[in-house]
């Protein structure tokens, strides 16, 4: 059972209180963007085996959206953080690196060398 700490109300919420919101930190395509940008925004999603950043909503709870960093293989949770950010904060990056020394944010962003593990 996945358990995430909601950064807004501070409870440890199990997944039956939560709604999954998919990949975090998407770039919104808008007026004037080309078809490729819209395709990327609407359809293209990462599917990493390892570290992943996601949006979750504390639906059966305070109702707030927040972000979570976790490992898709082990369900290890590296941390949760505010929804009001467009990238993971340094403390989350640090806690991931403490557990996955070879990992880099650029791996997840798709600008790095290989698979994020």
């Amino acid at each position: 059972m996945l358990i995430l700490n909601c950064p807004y109300c501070g409870v440890s919420a199990d997944e039956t209180e939560l709604t999954a919101g998919g990949e975090a930190h998407l770039t919104l395509a808008t007026v004037g963007d080309d078809d490729a940008a819209f395709e990327a925004y609407l359809f293209m999603r990462k599917n990493p085996r390892g570290v992943h950043f996601e949006r979750w909503r504390h639906a059966n709870g305070c109702g707030k959206w927040f972000h979570a960093a976790r490992c898709t293989m082990t369900l290890e949770v590296f941390g949760t953080y505010s929804a009001q950010t467009s990238e993971p904060p340094q403390e989350i990056i640090d806690s991931i690196k403490a557990r996955r020394p070879d990992w880099a944010l650029s791996d997840w962003m798709g600008t790095g060398k290989g698979d994020a593990v």
Binding site: Y8, V11, T16, N60, G61
Partner: protein, 188 residues
């Protein structure tokens, strides 16, 4: 003219704990910046209770103010006092970015009382109801079996439960089943 009626008209069920629908209860949702000093002042002067800390409930006489989220309070008071309270708060907070709505008739309120109250709640919600994790005047929004609900430890051995009125019968039925004699847990 019409008379207000609560969802289940005060029905109750006695098992190893007691479930009671509380009849008419006044409830007001207030959304705004809870850290704002003026808002705090208006709430305290209107209700007598301070703005509660995270997941806490403050009380003053028959008024209670519950923390529902970082920008949401639930004010509980006598049913017939709700409209006047909405007017007072709206007036006091004019010019501020807030929302004050009488939601009394959109909710159902239940109490779960008796020695087994914590055990019954723990059967139905993914929440730690141990005394050290859930003390008097703590409030926790979660789910009660399949529907959203808020749990408030309103007195020793009494949990007040607020749910949507549309699911009041479900809430009563599932609580009634959970208090059935012979299904005692004896954990808490």
């Amino acid at each position: 003219m019409y008379s207000a009626v609560s969802a289940l008209n005060g029905v109750s069920n006695v098992g190893f704990a007691t479930v009671t629908e509380m009849g008419l209860c006044g409830m007001i949702t207030l959304r705004g910046d809870l850290a704002d000093a003026k808002l705090a002042k208006v709430i305290t002067s209107a209700t007598g209770a301070d703005v509660p800390a995270q997941r806490r409930v403050t009380t003053s006489g028959d008024h209670a103010v519950a923390w529902m989220s970082p920008d949401e309070l639930l004010i509980m008071l006598p049913h017939d006092a709700a409209d006047a309270m909405v007017a007072t708060l709206t007036e006091g907070l004019s010019g501020q970015h807030v929302l004050v709505v009488n939601v009394s008739d959109a909710r159902g309120v239940f109490t779960l009382s008796g020695d087994g109250a914590r055990d019954v709640a723990a059967k139905l919600a993914p929440v730690d109801f141990a005394t050290d994790a859930f003390d008097i005047n703590d409030i926790r929004r979660s789910r009660l079996a399949q529907v959203p609900a808020a749990f408030w430890m309103s007195a020793p051995d009494t949990i007040t439960i607020v749910a949507f009125r549309s699911v009041a019968q479900y809430v009563f039925d599932v609580l009634s089943k959970a208090v059935a004699q012979g299904s005692e847990v004896g954990f808490h």
